[in-house]
């Protein structure tokens, strides 16, 4: 029905929403590179809030999550910082060794599991690369007129990304404590006294999060907020080849090629599917999934809703299985 009503001037996002170009790659500390990502045609990116991360779908098929650490007032680029993890599964090594400016990467989200809730005062605790989600939070705290401090630990001074910018801009609000100079972070000194009206935001390696959780045991409930990335449970890789989508109720099947969104493919097959933002943020095109494994790229569904694999947002999400069956 619908295709003829979409005139050529209509704004379309299609799969360009989920493919971005690496605009720059810079070494920002020992073992850390920052990537700037943008649409090839320079259009706006979906909005985000401090604490958000994106899924980076690398050309080798690996999917990794990275916190956005740039400026949300710039709607045209995302910035992430990637630590080389020698013990990792190859995602960070690919970013460090192979990815070059001009390369195309898949992007899912942004999604935020670590939002900055209102508080009079914040204590930010960063371990190493865990500083990344805290950077936009710090700017936000400044804008909100909240009091804040940052305790920033890392292995060595030169491995700690953004330390000079932070101390130059904020002086003694920032405490930089490299482990080889200062030992482990003195959490007892910072957290022994629960402070009403203060929220503690911590991002870093597991042992740091556990230590901070222990140190905050006596704090009022919900004072402490932490970010812990868990590896995606998916075993199936992201598909870069055409896949089939079956419309269960109407009995039709459509092949979705890599350069077409599932939404557009469904419309061409005659499905009456409403959408609105076409960026995976509004939720209008939410569609029940009967079988198959979606490649979720939206900003709407919570983790448990994604893992249930019983619904998807076809404007941006795709497939991990060769066939998806939708209740349409």
């Amino acid at each position: 029905m619908v295709v003829q009503n979409l005139l050529p001037t209509a704004p379309r996002y299609s799969t360009s929403t989920v493919t971005l170009e690496v605009r720059s790659k810079d070494v920002v500390a020992d073992g850390v590179v920052s990537l700037t990502l943008a649409h090839a045609d320079g259009t706006r990116l979906p909005d985000w809030t401090p604490g958000s991360h994106i899924d980076l779908v690398l050309p080798n098929g690996a999917t990794r999550q990275y916190s956005l650490c740039g400026d949300r007032w710039d709607p045209y680029s995302y910035r992430v910082a990637v630590l080389r993890e020698p013990a990792g599964r190859g995602g960070s090594a690919y970013v460090h060794d192979t990815l070059t400016p001009g390369a195309r990467v898949g992007v899912g989200g942004p999604r935020n599991h670590f939002p900055l809730a209102p508080a009079d005062r914040y204590l930010f605790i960063a371990g190493g690369i865990g500083v990344t989600p805290l950077l936009p939070m710090i700017r936000q705290a400044e804008l909100m007129g909240a009091d804040w401090q940052l305790l920033y630990g890392g292995r060595t001074r030169t491995s700690m990304a953004f330390r000079d910018e932070l101390t130059a801009a904020h002086g003694d609000r920032v405490t930089v404590a490299p482990q080889d100079e200062c030992g482990l972070l003195d959490l007892g000194a910072w957290l022994s006294e629960p402070a009403a009206g203060t929220k503690v935001y911590c991002c870093g390696p597991g042992p740091l999060l556990a230590a901070v959780e222990d140190a905050c045991a006596a704090w009022p409930p919900y004072s402490l907020r932490t970010e812990r990335f868990t590896a995606a449970a998916h075993t199936e890789p992201v598909l870069r080849t055409p896949f089939e989508v079956e419309l269960r109720r109407s009995g039709r099947t459509v092949t979705v090629s890599p350069d077409v969104s599932v939404l557009d493919a469904l419309r061409q097959a005659g499905a009456d599917l409403l959408s609105s933002c076409e960026q995976g943020t509004c939720g209008t095109c939410l569609t029940p999934v009967v079988a198959g494994t979606p490649d979720h790229r939206d900003s709407v569904l919570a983790d448990h809703e994604r893992e249930a694999n019983d619904c998807m947002l076809p404007c941006v999400s795709r497939s991990r299985s060769g066939r998806l069956v939708l209740d349409l």
């Binding site: 029905m1 003829q4 005139l7 001037t9 209509a10 949300r72 007032w73 209102p118 409403l274 919570a302």
Partner: protein, 405 residues
């Protein structure tokens, strides 16, 4: 002449008052002339800029960095004028202050969270239509008997309001949506009851006034978790009560009006009731229950070559964008065969209607119930508009129906 001014475009000027009764009653001719005049038009009457084409309205809606809401989304500029009530934490706020209330409410009103309401609302809609048909009267005012009754039956329950005083909801919304316009006679007409209606609405936002299982209680629970402050919670509840009633009532009325005047489209819905969702969005594209909102320029913004100076107010004509022939083929036609996706009746971007899925579920429930039970629906008399500075609203919608066999 310096180069900068040589390349700047002076926008055409319109002397029309978009809030005058003639334009509120019949907005299409003004919308047409504004779209034709150019991508940006200066409105001399209020010294503001108007956008009426889909491309520019859509772009302004998503560009919160340049077009802010925090200085008010009505004619009043909160940088210079005191708002008539404490500003909304959602509609009249910008990042970063907008983030926490939006995030909390978005989760509470997201499609997965509404699944538990679907069956209840379907049953409520079927009961309402059955009761109406059981009266045996085949002529009635569809605005009163359907569009007004249904949202008022299901939505306050979902929020968790008590049973008393619900008759204040529509007058409060009417007042709030008038207040986005100039201080004209429509605003003056409500002046005597501002204090009383506001006091009632504000009182309903308190935790102890709300049931324990509704949207309101969830907002308060979010405050208990520290995701909002306890000072913010009642204002977020207030947003539900301000923005969630009149809008859906007049949106449903738009859909009923559309079908009463397009019998072929009603047959189409009868044959395929699963088109109810598309039908509602097409109806709100075609009628645009929320006609306009303002933004304020945070800097000198260039739109299609015209520089809109910092601090200017910009009036976005959502209704005009929804019928822009550059975006829609045969835009004045109500057509279930059309894909209405991309209309701006719910806005777009950061401030896009957070309750849009609630509205769609209400509409889907009612339209599906009607399509199963009503064979024909047609106007029995001339419908009457109710004038509001922002809402395309109704006073009456007399219809005649024939029940399905």
């Amino acid at each position: 002449m310096p180069e900068a001014t040589a390349t700047a475009v002076l926008p055409p000027t319109s002397h029309a008052d978009p809030f005058a009764a003639e334009h509120l009653e019949h907005p299409e001719p003004l919308h047409h002339s504004l779209r034709e005049a150019g991508p940006v038009v200066r409105l001399s009457r209020y010294d503001v800029y108007a956008l009426a084409r889909h491309q520019e309205v859509h772009a302004a809606l998503v560009d919160w960095q340049s077009f802010q809401s925090g200085a008010g989304v009505g004619l009043a500029n909160f940088r210079h004028e005191k708002p008539w009530r404490p500003p909304s934490l959602l509609l009249e706020a910008d990042p970063p202050h907008h983030d926490a209330p939006r995030s909390v409410l978005r989760e509470i009103l997201a499609p997965p969270a509404l699944r538990r309401l679907r069956e209840t609302w379907q049953v409520a809609a079927e009961n309402l239509v059955d009761a109406l048909l059981a009266t045996g009267s085949m002529e009635f005012d569809a605005f009163d008997a359907l569009a007004k009754v249904f949202p008022l039956r299901v939505f306050p329950d979902a929020v968790g309001l008590g049973p008393d005083g619900r008759e204040n909801l529509l007058p409060y919304g009417n007042m709030a949506f008038n207040a986005f316009g100039p201080r004209n006679d429509l605003v003056a007409a409500d002046a005597h009851r501002v204090a009383k209606l506001s006091a009632w609405v504000n009182a309903q936002c308190a935790r102890e006034k709300l049931t324990q299982d509704g949207f309101g209680a969830r907002i308060w629970a979010a405050a208990d978790r520290g995701d909002l402050t306890h000072e913010q919670a009642p204002l977020v509840v207030r947003s539900l009560l301000t923005a969630g009633v009149d809008t859906t009532v007049h949106g449903l009325a738009a859909a009923l009006y559309a079908f009463a005047t397009h019998p072929d489209q009603w047959q189409r819905l009868r044959e395929r009731p699963e088109l109810a969702r598309v039908a509602f969005d097409e109806a709100v594209r075609w009628q645009s229950p929320v006609q306009t909102f303002f933004r304020t320029a945070t800097t000198d913004v260039t739109v299609a070559g015209t520089v809109i100076p910092q601090d200017s107010k910009i009036l976005m004509f959502l209704g005009a964008a929804n019928r822009d022939p550059a975006r829609w083929s045969d835009p004045d036609r109500f057509d279930l065969g059309r894909d209405p996706s991309g209309h701006v009746s719910f806005g777009m971007g950061l401030h896009q209607c957070v309750g849009q899925h609630v509205a769609r579920l209400e509409a889907e429930s009612l339209l599906t119930a009607l399509a199963r039970r009503v064979e024909r629906i047609e106007l029995a008399d001339e419908p009457r508009r109710h004038l509001n500075n922002t809402l395309r609203s109704w006073a009456s919608l007399p219809v005649r129906i024939r029940p399905a066999a």
